[in-house]
Symmetry: C2
Subunit: 91 residues, 2 copies
Amino acid sequence: MSLLLDGPRRYSDLRRVIDGISPRMLTLTLRGLERDGLVLRKVTPTTPPKVDYSLTQVGRTLSGQVSELIGWAEQHYAYISDSRRRYDEKG
Amino acid sequence: MSLLLDGPRRYSDLRRVIDGISPRMLTLTLRGLERDGLVLRKVTPTTPPKVDYSLTQVGRTLSGQVSELIGWAEQHYAYISDSRRRYDEKG
DNA sequence: CGGCATCCTTCCGGATACTG
DNA sequence: CAGTATCCGGAAGGATGCCG
């Protein structure tokens, strides 16, 4: 979702950025977001076809919270990794 | 997580509030949060035993973002439901 | 290019029964 | 009370192949 903040992205672009994701999962995820009205799917029926994904108005209202969540995760990543290691090693 | 903001809660309390959750899932969830260092599990070995769950210092730093997310969800619940209904009905 | 259909394996998570 | 143990059905999701 936060990947779409800078504007529309094509399917293949998203696949490249979200490294390792299968086409199936990417499509399912995008379709879910589209169904929820957070992402807009715009098909241009040329050859080769072109599909742009962008945030809807409402989708953009979520971007702040998502960014904050990402920020939190980055800030506390080391702490959580440490906590897990300690938990797994003894108890 | 947001349930723990007001202070420690006992296992059975959480089970009552999160209605319908199985003991297995509640334990797994709490154990995951404990492993990540977000929740503290404090056992008092009396009869009957007593276990209190509370947020750690770091766990509390996440509460703001969680609250905002909940707020967003409540605010846009109707929109999303509508979007889904329209999506499922035609396309 | 941007998918969908299908197969197949994994594992999530509910139900139930039992314990310190 | 606060879990653990076990069984089990169904869903999640990777791999592969095909299509407009």
